[in-house]
């Protein structure tokens, strides 16, 4: 014990850190700010440290080569003792970190913490969000399975649209025009050196600012921020009603960070690691890749945008979003902090949450995406085949062979990109059915050239049977007049 004391005294005589560190730890914070709402920043930091530790362990085993990465992860899952658990911790840690960072940001926004004098803290926070997203994206690529391929493809296609530098940027990212061995080494370097370097730098500055400027006071409706008086008011507040950060203020942070760590461990333990999914082989075309959770909204957005709007949306949208976030503390640097007096801010958060939430929901269910093997794997329900003529049965086969089933469901099986056709005959007459198939329209391909007249006839005969037993199919009265009976 005495030896330890002497060593630490010897060190401190040289480093002279004890005093500043103690000062930092004991810096006064407003009593009300030691709240359960103010724990997300420290939780993000805790998860980041978990990511560093697990990341280092993974880097020891990871082989950043296109040929071996996938197999390497397989053997990490199966052969290396607890390898799967470390992968799972790192993967879940990443999801939790993004979630906590986003929650932290929303909280900071709603509590007006970005206002004077904490503008720079906020701006660094925005960069931290970007960098964290960057970590999530590059990390997903390192998994190097089909989903990674897909994510990269999207990333590359977005970058390639930037006017002027697009092509060069893609080359820089992928190490060539296509995804190959060089791509993986690049993303390894990005994920392990470049982006974490930035992240650590930003975190350090962000923390420095938090300590220098003091933690945000609890927003009181009516307590307005003014550049001329705020600093003085804050000082008085911490004097009048403050307490030292350590030990009084840090308790909730520790409890919450601990709970989050436990949650990550539980997820890792019970739900296991992410992937790797199917092999990253572009020649395998029977796949339905899907990006990680945090990029699902983008996936949904891309699927819904008409092609002409994609470029403006993808390039201008994020740029505008970023600019709004960056100038926010300057245009709204003063005024009310309490969300109770900032209805627009609350509405904005709700709107954004709604938009991202529903896009993610759509991304999870992918109703727009064709069910690629429904044509060959999803039988026509049996009761659509009883008491049918040979021609109508051929129509059912055309329905399968021409992939109608991949977009149209029958009895809820099959794709949902187009409307279900269970009762289409009630809605459309044979002529309208022919028109729809030949000319397509509204996101349905026109089949005109790829259906022979016989196939069309059979198809329409089959679709004409798609009506509930008690309900007559739609028909065109003029034809009854012309031909005496239905053709």
């Amino acid at each position: 014990m005495r030896l330890l004391n002497r060593v630490s005294q010897w060190l401190d005589a040289r480093l002279q850190l004890r005093e500043p560190v103690t000062k930092v730890l004991e810096h006064p914070i407003p009593r009300k700010s030691a709240s359960w709402f103010y724990v997300f920043g420290s939780a993000a930091l805790t998860i980041f440290m978990l990511q560093v530790v697990t990341g280092v362990l993974l880097a020891l085993l990871y082989v950043p080569s296109a040929a071996d990465a996938w197999n390497g992860l397989q053997s990490m899952n199966h052969q290396v003792a607890a390898g799967w658990f470390i992968r799972a911790l790192h993967g879940w840690g990443s999801n939790f970190m993004l979630a906590v960072v986003v929650i932290h940001m929303v909280q900071v926004f709603l509590f007006g913490a970005y206002k004077f004098p904490r503008e720079l803290t906020w701006i660094l926070g925005v960069f931290l969000l970007l960098v964290t997203l960057g970590m999530a994206f590059t990390g997903q690529v390192l998994r190097f399975d089909q989903d990674a391929y897909w994510g990269l493809g999207i990333g590359a296609s977005i970058s390639s649209r930037i006017p002027g530098v697009g092509g060069a940027l893609v080359k820089l990212l992928l190490g060539g025009p296509i995804i190959a061995g060089a791509t993986l080494s690049r993303f390894f370097a990005l994920h392990v050196f470049v982006v974490p370097g930035l992240l650590i730098g930003f975190v350090a500055l962000h923390l420095l600012l938090v300590i220098k400027l003091g933690i945000n006071d609890w927003p009181m409706p009516g307590r307005v921020v003014r550049r001329s008086t705020y600093l003085q008011e804050y000082k008085e507040l911490t004097h009048r009603d403050g307490m030292p950060f350590v030990p009084a203020g840090v308790g909730k942070d520790i409890i919450f960070s601990g709970a989050i760590l436990l949650a990550i461990v539980a997820c890792a333990f019970f739900l296991g690691p992410f992937g790797p999914g199917g092999q990253p082989d572009p020649t395998i075309i029977q796949t339905a890749p899907r990006p990680d959770f945090f990029f699902l909204w983008l996936y949904a957005l891309l699927s819904f945008l008409p092609p002409a709007y994609e470029t403006p949306f993808l390039l201008i949208g994020p740029a505008i979003g970023l600019i709004v976030l960056l100038v926010l503390p300057f245009v709204a640097g003063e005024g009310e902090k309490s969300w109770k007096r900032r209805p627009i801010a609350v509405l904005m958060v709700m709107l954004l949450a709604g938009v991202f939430g529903s896009l993610t929901q759509l991304g999870l269910h992918t109703p727009w995406s064709p069910v690629m093997d429904a044509w060959s794997g999803e039988p026509i329900p049996a009761n659509f085949l009883v008491h049918r003529t040979p021609l109508e049965r051929q129509g059912a086969l055309v329905f399968q062979a021409k992939q109608c089933h991949t977009c149209h469901a029958l009895e809820d099986r099959g794709g949902q990109r187009g409307p279900p056709l269970d009762a289409v005959a009630v809605r459309l007459t044979p002529d309208q059915l022919i028109r729809q198939v030949i000319q397509g329209g509204g996101n349905m391909p026109a089949y005109g050239k790829s259906l022979s007249p016989a196939e069309t006839t059979a198809l329409v005969a089959f679709m004409g049977t798609l009506h509930p037993p008690g309900q007559a199919p739609a028909r065109d009265a003029s034809q009854t007049v012309l031909y005496g009976k239905e053709p």
């Binding site: 658990f85 997820c267 333990f269 026509i380 006839t457 059979a458």
Partner: protein, 249 residues
């Protein structure tokens, strides 16, 4: 103080519950999250499991387990008794051009390897019930020579007319099998297969017939020839008027 105690025991109970959960999760010393070999996503090109191959590639048209689909039920006794393996393999890998049956073999632009096609042929064959044998009297699966449509008309009238009507246009619950569009969408081999194997599921009897006189190989060829002769030059015209104006060359 009392409050404190109950809170403690509550915590302990929670902890025990958690432990029990964890232990329940780790059956056979395995954490629930630990990936098992099975979870692994297999390369679809390596799959040779018949059930998987059939369910993803064939069930859509030939029905779940080879029954109740829109096309030939590959599991039906009638079919398995006449179709040789080589013909099944050929149909799978080359497909039937101009019909809904796609070519699945790699050599013909499909996605299935030879090993996978073999697995399918074996699996389909394994559907045959024990003791199913090809009768020596059964007409051959493949036609041995050209058929005579005029004779075919007679055979059809005699053997099939009771159900299909003598002209093949059918009646109340039996649809037309001489419809131009229908005949345009099926091959002669399909007609031959259907006539020999019958369609148990639909009620078409097969080569043994219903009049106590089985069809010979030649009878089948002739019937197919007659049916083929009913094909139209320009099939699938939606309106009767259009059908009438077709000029026969």
């Amino acid at each position: 103080m009392r409050l404190e105690v109950t809170k403690r025991s509550g915590n302990v109970r929670l902890l025990l519950l958690g432990l029990a959960l964890v232990l329940a999760g780790c059956e056979r010393g395995r954490a629930p999250g630990q990936p098992s070999e099975k979870v692994e996503v297999a390369d679809p090109r390596q799959v040779v499991d018949f059930a998987t191959l059939y369910a993803t590639n064939c069930a859509g048209c030939h029905g779940v387990r080879g029954e109740g689909g829109a096309s030939i039920g590959l599991a039906s006794r009638g079919y398995l008794a006449v179709a040789p393996d080589a013909a099944i393999r050929e149909a799978i890998s080359r497909g039937r051009p101009r019909t809904a049956m796609p070519a699945f073999g790699r050599s013909a632009g499909g996605l299935l390897s030879d090993a996978q096609v073999d697995a399918l042929v074996k699996g389909i064959r394994a559907w045959a019930p024990d003791g199913l044998e090809t009768s020596p009297d059964a007409p051959s699966y493949l036609a041995t020579g050209p058929g005579d449509p005029a004779r075919g008309e007679h055979v059809f009238r005699e053997q099939c007319g009771s159900c299909h009507r003598p002209d093949g246009r059918g009646q109340a619950s039996v649809g037309s099998i001489v419809d131009g569009a229908y005949l345009d969408l099926v091959t002669d081999q399909y007609l031959r297969t259907t006539i020999i194997a019958g369609r148990e599921d639909l009620g078409s009897p097969g080569w043994r017939g219903v009049i106590g006189k089985p069809l010979s190989a030649q009878d089948v060829s002739d019937t197919v020839a007659w049916l083929a002769a009913q094909r139209q030059q320009i099939p699938g015209q939606p309106y009767p008027a259009a059908r009438l104006t077709v000029n026969k060359p």
